[in-house]
Amino acid sequence: MTDRPLKQIHLAAHFPGVNNTTVWTDPASRSQIEFASFRHLAETAERGRFDFFFLAEGLRLREVNGLIHDLDVVGRPESITVLGALAAVTTHLGLAATVNATFNEPYELARRFASLDHLSGGRAAWNVVTSSDAFTGENFRRGGFLDRADRYTRAAEFVQLAREFWDGGLVRHSGPQFDVEGRLSLPRPPQGHPVVIQAGDSDEGREFAAATADIIFSRHSTLTAGQAFHTDVKRRLAAYGRKPDELKIMPGVTYVLGDTDEEATERAAEIRRAQVGPRTAIAYLEQVWGIDLSDHDPDGPLPTADPVVDSTVVQGRTRIGDPLEIAARWRAVAAEKRLSSRELVIEVTGRQSFIGTPAAVAEQLDAYVQNDAADGFILVPHLTPGGLDDFVDQVVPLLQERGVFRTEYTGTTLRDHLGLPVPGRR
């Protein structure tokens, strides 16, 4: 460690998602839709002095073999509307919504986020995602018109245009994606521009984040990999005239606490078994193999056939990479550790990022930040809505004692919490 001042950790709360990370079979699991659940988690995050609350998005229900996937939590309300309501019951917490740039238009979305920023006193954030997915496009006028290659071009032009609308005055723009002329009906938002988040680890994603995002939502990995990512992303900022702390790196992480490390480890294993039931294990295999495996025995070995590349069996999920390579890797792990299909899936998916006593987890989180593997974390609880209660009650005080996390909010806007200046007008 150097003798520089301690870095301050940034924390965000991810509302549990519609995938098998979220355990709905737990008796403590409540509605993923009712406002009371959102309120509970947001109030918990604010009690813990978190930077912001984060909502993901999905615009088409997942399908497997042409049928709606029925094993995981399904359904969610519309994010910006939920955040508008949460602005009424919180006072400082940042409010971040994931909204797709493919199935929205800049004028409308800029206006919605500007409105949220006004209504929350400067707490709005937009996680910019794009999709080239014709499956999701069936719910929209545009359909799946966007080439994969155009995703970041559209996102970049979209965000630039949104910033111009936020700055006010008449905007005239003619580009490859948008040809518009207009002026918003409201003043520049309290934050100047709502905070912009970008999720994605690809080279294009990193470059896009370096050019225009305030936060990059990355995947969690090892300390060394985190440091490499950190170095790579921060290095790119100078080309855009930006300083290293103008982009915060916040991996999405999971955690499990226990009174002892052994107890935490046992709880973590139980949670993973709950997350990967027999049918969920089969669904994972189908995602890689690209074929109907409904007759496959989850307690037997992996399928013997090779995966089908470019299958459309699974729709509405992010592609996961080269299926042949993944299948080969999974077979090697299963052979080495003598694992059934389900055990293999439990082994290779969803191992929690941080497992241990509150003191151990606080120490690990702090080490990641002080050693420049991250600037903070987006915590993804496995339970709705009480999934962050233990973290806020047991880990946050320890981070505060270490002097690496605020004990009170020192500002009122999300930019204040993140230490980001209000952007100048263009």
């Binding site: 009424a88 207009g182 409201l186």
Partner: protein, 351 residues
């Protein structure tokens, strides 16, 4: 007891961007136990205002009984987004959401989106009708008991109770199902603004299309008519077109600087019914006039037994005396009494 009035109010406040202002207005409206408030919206740069639906989402947790009916326009917004946003307003308000349908008929608004040119009003209202159809189908696309959480089979959802809507029209097609489960009211309340002139013989095509949209989809019409006689004519025509289930509220300016103007408004509301179900008050100065409505107008109506002393139900449909609609995709449950042929045919026409 005299027939109960329905009362609502507009809270439009050009140039106001602070949540506190709208919260204060909502508190007056809720103290008066109004059925609902409306907030207009468009993509025009003037007047200066916030997104209406976002503003009402901000008010939802701070109110208990008040219905919240923002304008959402259909010309440039994706119908899928409109459906889930209004649906979500219903969830965050626990059943108090409505949707005042609007269109964008200027070139300037079309240019702000840059996707298509401006179209004639009749086409825009036909598109609005399709958006209302899509929204309603998406609200129904989840049956109420679709979430089963069946630990034994590992199934969270009964996918047999989720439905593709497969809407295809000239302006858009939407596959469904919704991503948001059926809202607490089943379907949030749909309101359409109609003026007496829209109903006049020889009205332009845009007016006819607006009335057609109202007749097919509206639960509530906000009626603009100059005086009791015109109200009666328009309301009669609307009921003929849409049936008795429609609630018609006549727009009335509420400019209440003094006792005389307050007395005049009380008189008009008490005597000027003209075949409508109540009134939609449009204040000249929202903070002043909504306070006067809560402090003077509504108490006077209560004394006469014309208006509720508090909310008797919890949802906007409750306030309006509208039932929770059956789900078009769910198997029919046996009705307590067989509907008459007329009622069934009518339901077919209006829904």
């Amino acid at each position: 007891m005299p027939r109960q009035l329905h009362l609502s109010a507009a809270v439009d406040s050009p140039g106001r961007f602070d949540a506190g202002h709208f919260t204060a207005l909502a508190r007056h409206a809720e103290r008066a136990a109004l059925d609902f408030v409306t907030l207009d919206d468009s993509y025009a740069p003037e007047p200066h205002r916030l997104d209406a639906l976002a503003t009402f989402a901000r008010l939802a947790p701070l109110t208990r009984g008040l219905g919240l009916v923002p304008t959402v326009t259909t010309t440039h917004t994706e119908p899928f987004h409109t459906s889930i946003s209004v649906n979500t307003l219903d969830w965050v308000s626990e059943g108090r959401a409505g949707w005042l349908i609007g269109i964008s008929d200027t070139e300037a608004q079309a240019r702000a989106f840059g996707r298509k040119g401006v179209a004639p009003a009749d086409e825009l209202w036909a598109e609005a009708a399709d958006a209302a159809e899509v929204a309603a189908r998406l609200w129904d696309s989840w049956e109420d008991d679709a979430e089963i959480r069946d630990v034994a089979t590992g199934r969270f959802i009964d996918r047999g109770k989720l439905h593709y809507i497969d809407f295809a029209g000239p302006h858009f097609s939407v596959r469904g199902p919704s991503i948001t489960p059926r809202p607490p009211q089943g379907r949030p309340v749909i309101a359409v603004p109609v003026s007496a002139a829209d109903l006049a013989p020889g009205a332009p095509a845009g007016s006819r299309a607006r009335v057609e949209t109202a007749a097919r989809y509206a639960d509530v019409v906000l009626l603009d008519a100059p005086g009791p006689a015109a109200r009666l004519t328009a309301a009669t025509e609307l009921r003929l077109r849409a049936g008795e289930g429609l609630r018609i509220l006549a727009r009335l300016t509420a400019d209440l600087p003094d006792g005389a103007s307050i007395s005049a408004l009380i008189r008009e509301v008490t005597e000027g019914g003209g075949g409508v179900d109540g009134f939609h008050l449009v204040p000249a100065d929202p903070a002043r006039d909504l306070a006067a409505v809560a402090d003077h107008v509504v108490p006077a109506l209560r004394e006469r037994g014309l208006f509720r002393t508090g909310y008797t139900g919890t949802t906007l449909r409750d306030h309006l005396g509208l039932g929770r609609p059956a789900n078009r995709y769910a198997p029919a449950t046996p009705a307590p009494a067989a509907p008459t042929a007329t009622a069934a045919a009518h339901a077919e026409v209006t829904r």
